[in-house]
Symmetry: D2
């Protein structure tokens, strides 16, 4: 019996999290499209809500365990522009789980059209400011497919 299956109370790991994001004036720029930095806001909203849906509170992690999750690296490909009033979907998947880090793939879509793709490396940091092992109650909700060992 592995560690994950013993965590009876925790929600089952999910493959892909989906979040709806509406585009407002605040998100657009004078070129009539969503400003390039704002896709990172959309992606962070989706990651936060994925954690919330999995029953993990970032605030709780900070208080109880003194751990914070920080973005260490982000790659983004802009394929097609999103526009005012668009209803977007942000898809988030854990791609690779390390000891102190997790690599996420995120996609911004308008219906079936892929607008942007992100690879985001999130690192768990302890009170001493150094990388710290991601706690088991977080590991337990990350799909096994993403776990390297």
């Amino acid at each position: 019996m592995n560690e994950v299956s013993r965590m009876g109370a925790s929600p089952a790991p999910i493959a892909t999290h989906r979040q709806a994001i509406r585009v407002y004036f605040e998100d657009t720029d004078a070129a009539g499209i969503v400003y390039y930095a704002n896709y990172l806001k959309f992606a962070e909203r989706a990651r936060t809500d994925m954690l919330r849906d999995l029953g993990i509170s970032h605030a709780e992690m900070m208080k109880t365990d003194g751990l914070v999750l920080v973005v260490r690296r982000c790659e983004i490909d802009y394929l097609k522009p999103a526009r005012l009033d668009d209803l977007l979907t942000v898809e988030t998947e854990a791609a690779k789980l390390g000891g102190a880090s997790v690599e996420l793939r995120q996609r911004v879509l308008r219906d079936d059209e892929l607008l942007a793709e992100l690879n985001v490396l999130v690192v768990c940091i302890g009170k001493d400011g150094r990388p710290a092992r991601i706690p088991d109650y977080v590991r337990g909700v990350i799909p096994r497919a993403a776990q390297s060992d």
Copy 2:
């Protein structure tokens, strides 16, 4: 000899502080103009730099005196839109100094053209979360014309 002139080391109170602000893509929206909330960002940059120019550090106030300055009320009139690449000037004046608050008038201009006008009520808050007297080293740099008593 009044209180202000005795503060030999402090800079002389200024009537109007002027700050240059360039408009970038991030500030504009799909209507091709500066997004209405962003004038409040410009105004806050100007207030911060006015304090800095007067030798007052907000961070220092928080650490030494446990005081924070917060916006309690803001009124803004939008007269003409600012656009991408505009070089704006934000003018800031203390209009009225109370015990725990200061009322500021701010104007956003493009050359001589008035684009927006703000009245901002800033309150000084102590560690207990209640209004606290604005310290003398701040009062000393506010022009006497604005002082009600």
Copy 3:
């Protein structure tokens, strides 16, 4: 039979529109609270979705009638700070309908706690850049209580 009741197909005018807004990291600042300019973003999202719920598309108004709705004046009182992860409600009501303008009252709440109050004056602008009469299909969805004549 008044004008409103003749508009059989249009939705009934509503008294108060309510919109849920989640607070993310992007909305907060180093003081640990929602940055003061961002309440204007929340308010604009609520106004946009109120129009959408009433079957009115701002984009459509621009294309068909050459009309835009712009904020001419905004007053905001900050009563209590909103914080990370808060689930807020923005309430919007039409307070007064003029020929070319409408005055809105907006409130930002956390459960029953009032955090901020806004008065927003929105003006309808025509192709010539001058105030233009708000079209009847918009007037028809504004509650009669707010209509001055």
Copy 4:
């Protein structure tokens, strides 16, 4: 005599452009540091001002040649956090010039400390929405070292 030296009136190509950026409350988040998406704003301000310093107006390019410069891809490494009141420097260099694209390296520093590094791929787009050759008056100000042919 090479192409660059023949462009008598144009400024000499520069190796590295440097831009000062002050951190304000609007840039920070509840973790007390600059929000991760805002580094992309800083980087865009630096690229815009680099073009301006080189005598190239993006607005002019759009009007005269029907060309726009868009970010197609962005990679960013977050090494150390920037904080409120920091005075940052953004360094920008053209790393590789293609026919319709240019790859830029950008670094965000606080004094000598490297806080973030970006690789940004900017593509020139014509009226038909397809990649278009970067015009010679832009090529002429990009250092020869970056030019692949």
